[in-house]
């Protein structure tokens, strides 16, 4: 028999309110191995890892770490045993400084017993520099973009000097270059003998980084194999239980009338510095068109979508016309009334009301159609929501379950359902497939095709360049708030996009 693995989980079962999330799952992780854990949304990946991290207690099964049986009752037990976690949803304390977040719960002390802020600053700066994200660690975490916050989250785990690090979709908010830096760190960790459990829905990443893969489906263990022996088609088949013909189905639609025209749009940054987050952006979107927006962090793509949706109030300059009619949208409610929908890139903080049920989230933007004026009737709500729940195959125990109990990907589907329900003509999609599994991704892209075929227009931001290239009819590239290139479908390549995104 080979050497005893660092971690062995066996026969893990867990159910929530009678719904089985895990049924006899096993996982073993060797020392110095990067082990990917993959599966559809709701397959139970995060639950398995939360059991390992002590955040959820298991119903049945055993955990053996370094040959010793373990019972984790609380996160601190797991931490003490050398397991560090990067949870799927950001878990920083927003108003606390980056340094304080990195050292949360294990602050270094001076000899007098006070918190040693100097040491904290120094160490967290070093950690973040190692991750290639130098930043002012004394500023509050909330001052930074999600991508940076994600890196802070990674630094927090690294700082624990654990020998097993779990990363639950760490790259879902990262651009390619940032993800690449994270991979370098992971490789270095592996060189030091640290093991990593890596969860991602991005196939390229799985193949780029992992040694072995374990696949879960519907809470069951499907298989474990060295990544080299598992071609992508097989892996996907294991995950979704059937073959997927085309990952990025793209039907060319005939562009129709102009839906949206933006001229010289300017948006100030929120920090009051007078800098422009978007600086003179112009674009047109026609019915039946998918226009991709590409740019690095801070390029202003997301802010452009937000401004079109009235998120920041009155824009600093510029004009917007819908179907040739000039409009001035200063509130999201006006945008919705004008047939615009914005799927934000962070479902937890801006996309969903986590304390409300699946049904209530789904209908939140369409309540005016859910009953007589001013009222909401449950029957009408169900009738409104059901087709979208079915179309997106949202996996939930009941539509009355709190949306926070859904797996990340299913939460994303609920957010998407909310916007499709408003019957928009212009969809602004900021990372629509963030955290969504391959099967559902293909479905969502298929859905985008259907939508544009019905004469809607889509502005799409995605950090996955292959998706952007495959789905967009045109691609606009932004750099520091300015449009730097417009590429047609046949002239767009990863290199040209990156070149335009890096320099004005």
């Amino acid at each position: 028999m080979a050497e005893e693995p660092l971690l062995r989980m066996e026969g893990i079962c867990k159910s929530f309110h009678g719904v089985h999330a895990l049924r006899g799952v096993r996982l073993d992780v060797r020392r110095g191995e990067v082990h990917s854990l993959v599966g559809e949304n709701g397959a139970g990946k995060s639950t398995l890892m939360r059991i390992l991290g002590g955040a959820v207690t298991l119903d049945e099964g055993t955990i053996t770490l370094r040959g010793r049986g373990q019972v984790f009752r609380a996160p601190k037990d797991a931490e003490a045993a050398g397991v560090a976690m990067i949870h799927q949803e950001l878990s920083l304390v927003p108003p606390m400084s980056v340094a304080e977040n990195v050292f949360l719960g294990r602050e270094p002390r001076t000899r007098l017993g006070f918190v040693d802020y100097a040491a904290m600053r120094e160490h967290s700066e070093a950690l973040l520099a190692e991750l290639g994200t130098p930043c002012d660690v004394t500023r509050p975490a909330e001052a930074y973009s999600i991508a940076t916050q994600q890196m802070v989250e990674v630094a927090k785990a690294l700082g624990r000097e654990a020998d097993l690090i779990v990363m639950d979709e760490p790259t879902s908010a990262l651009a390619e270059a940032e993800a690449e830096r994270l991979f370098e760190v992971i490789r270095r960790l592996r060189g030091r003998g640290v093991s990593v459990v890596y969860i991602s829905h991005k196939m390229e990443e799985i193949y780029a980084i992992s040694d072995r893969v374990t696949v879960l489906r519907d809470g069951e263990w499907i298989g474990t194999a060295p990544v080299g022996e598992l071609p992508q088609e097989r892996l996907i088949e294991w995950m979704v239980g059937r073959k997927i013909e085309q990952l990025f189905p793209k039907h060319a639609a005939e562009p129709g009338a102009e839906l949206l025209r933006v001229d010289g749009l300017c948006v100030d940054t929120a920090d009051g510095s007078g800098r422009r987050a978007v600086d003179g952006a112009s674009l047109t979107l026609r019915a039946g068109e998918i226009v991709g927006l590409a740019g690095l962090r801070g390029s202003g793509c997301s802010e452009l979508l937000g401004a079109l949706f009235g998120r920041y109030g009155r824009v600093a300059a510029g004009s917007v016309a819908i179907r040739g009619r000039p409009v001035s949208i200063t509130r999201p409610a006006e945008a919705i009334a004008n047939g615009i929908a914005l799927l934000t890139n962070d479902r937890k903080t801006t996309g969903l009301v986590l304390s409300m049920s699946v049904l209530h989230n789904a209908t939140l933007a369409s309540l005016s159609r859910a009953g007589p004026p001013g009222c909401v009737l449950r029957d009408r709500e169900l009738a409104l929501a059901q087709p979208f729940m079915d179309m997106l195959s949202v996996r939930t125990a009941s539509v009355d379950a709190e949306v926070s109990a859904l797996s990340g990907g299913n939460q994303q589907k609920v957010a998407l359902a909310k916007w499709l329900m408003t019957e928009p003509s212009v969809l602004l999609l900021d990372e629509p497939t963030r955290g969504i599994d391959v099967g559902a991704k293909a479905e969502i892209y298929e859905l985008m095709n259907t939508l544009v075929a019905q004469g809607k227009g889509i502005l799409l931001i995605t950090s996955e360049l292959p998706e952007l290239l495959a789905m967009s009819d045109r691609i606009l590239v932004m750099h520091r708030g300015r449009m730097t290139a417009e590429l047609n479908r046949d002239e767009a390549t990863q290199e040209r996009i990156m070149a335009a995104a890096m320099e004005a």
């Binding site: 009678g18 719904v19 089985h20 949706f309 998120r311 999201p332 409610a333 945008a335 919705i336 009334a337 914005l342 934000t344 903080t349 801006t350 996309g351 969903l352 009301v353 986590l354 304390s355 409300m356 209530h360 939140l364 933007a365 309540l367 005016s368 859910a370 009953g371 001013g374 009222c375 909401v376 009737l377 029957d379 169900l382 059901q386 729940m389 079915d390 125990a397 009941s398 539509v399 009355d400 909310k418």
Partner: protein, 419 residues
């Protein structure tokens, strides 16, 4: 979609007990209320002929009556707390509207309808100011309503010149003696009707409730429901008409049956809470409150009129404070500028004991009714208990009340943590 996936049902034998437990867990508030009632029957004192006082109708009547103002305040407070806010000014606003009602009726000789309208209006204006400070000028709810708490109390003292408003207080007062006081002063505090039909009509509402539960929660009932009405639009309309009709009859008979026993003050208490429970459950405004309390930014981005909904919540809270002020004036038979001090704490306690989260976004007004009744009955027990033939003193009562609050919140929290 509405049901669990297959494989979710437990094994048959022990599942009944488990389901009963789960149901009890779900409805902790009502269960706690039942526990309080049982405790009341056991130790809540006895009548001279030896029966537990908690088995006499008059005890229950008096609980509703004595707790009326707190319950009315709690109705508005729940709306505000659902948005993640708080209103500390309700007690002071109650005091202000109380003296305004007294001055207008006793001093200026206004008819009680107009005076009531004005007093409630004053409450609503205070709420409006709170709402504007909070939603437009971005004050913290705690700070804005703390300021209003001080200002309203100051105003109440200023307009009365630090005196209690009673007949013939000043030479110009219209009402010169107790016997000339407008009828509302007596009416608010005496049973709605002199004679009524027997309480036994309450059997009908009870049957209607049982029938509703049967159709909603049992498998047979659901099947029967589906067979009778189906899902065609006509069937749905028929079902809706029938159920609204049944509830209206239930409500009407309840009021009718209780009229000879309950005072208007108690009716105001229960109907404020029931009305707001309905508003929160079936209106868009109600849904917006939950969304705002759960995640204000996500709500705004979904087109929820955040500022307008918040302002309305505070206005309603102020309006209920005004109503409670009128009740207090009638109860005291005078306008006291000190009335309502610390009432905000009882109102908040009722909301929290019901299980509504102070963080906002979770809870309901129906739960607040339960919370208010738990508080009301607990108060009753505490004032009825005798130890060595002695009633409890105020200090001991307060201690016990504090512990009840802590206990109730612990029970609610346990549910959340388990989930």
């Amino acid at each position: 979609m509405d049901e669990l996936r297959p494989g979710t049902e437990g094994p048959g034998s022990s599942s009944l007990a488990r389901r009963a437990l789960a149901l009890a867990g779900e409805y902790r508030g009502p269960v706690a209320l039942v526990v309080v009632l049982v405790v009341g029957i056991l130790i809540g004192g006895r009548t001279p002929d030896g029966r537990p006082v908690f088995l006499t109708g008059s005890t229950h009547v008096s609980v509703f009556f004595e707790y009326a103002e707190y319950g009315i305040l709690a109705a508005g407070m729940t709306l505000v707390i659902l948005t993640g806010g708080i209103d500390l000014s309700v007690g002071s606003v109650l005091g202000l509207s109380s003296v305004i009602f007294a001055i207008l009726t006793l001093g200026c000789g206004w008819s009680s309808q107009w005076a009531a309208l004005a007093a409630a209006g004053v409450g609503a204006v205070c709420g409006l100011i709170n709402g504007i400070l909070i939603s437009r000028l971005r004050f913290q709810p705690f700070v804005a309503t703390l300021a209003m708490m001080v200002v309203a109390r100051g105003l109440a003292k200023q307009v009365t010149g630090h005196r209690k408003i009673a007949p013939a207080l000043d030479p110009w007062y219209h009402v010169r003696s107790l016997s000339e006081m407008p009828p509302i002063y007596k009416g608010m505090m005496s049973p709605l009707a002199k004679h009524g039909i027997a309480v036994t009509v309450l059997v009908v509402p009870a049957l209607i409730i049982v029938a509703a539960a049967f159709f909603r929660y049992t498998v047979t009932g659901r099947a029967l429901d589906a067979r009778l009405f189906g899902s065609s639009p006509a069937g749905r309309t028929a079902r809706a008409t029938l159920s609204i009709g049944a509830w209206a009859i239930a409500l009407g008979l309840t009021v009718w049956g209780l009229a000879p026993y309950l005072q208007p003050a108690s009716f105001l208490f229960v109907s404020s809470l029931l009305l707001m429970a309905l508003v929160v459950k079936v209106t868009r405004f109600g849904r917006h409150l939950y969304a705002i309390g759960g995640n204000e930014e996500a709500a705004r981005l979904s087109g929820v009129p955040v500022a307008r909904s918040k302002v309305l919540a505070y206005v309603l809270c102020g309006l209920f404070s005004g109503l409670a002020g009128i009740v207090t004036t009638c109860r005291l038979q005078l306008g006291n500028p000190e009335a309502g001090a610390t009432y905000e704490l009882d109102a908040i306690a009722a909301v929290v004991i019901g299980g509504t989260s102070l963080m906002g976004g979770r809870g309901s007004v129906a739960l607040t009714l339960v919370g208010a009744l738990i508080m009301g009955y607990a108060n009753k027990i505490l004032s009825n208990i005798q130890i060595h033939g002695q009633f409890l003193q105020d200090g001991a009562k307060l201690l016990a009340k504090g512990m009840i609050i802590v206990l109730a919140v612990l029970v609610q929290e346990a549910r959340r943590r388990r989930a």
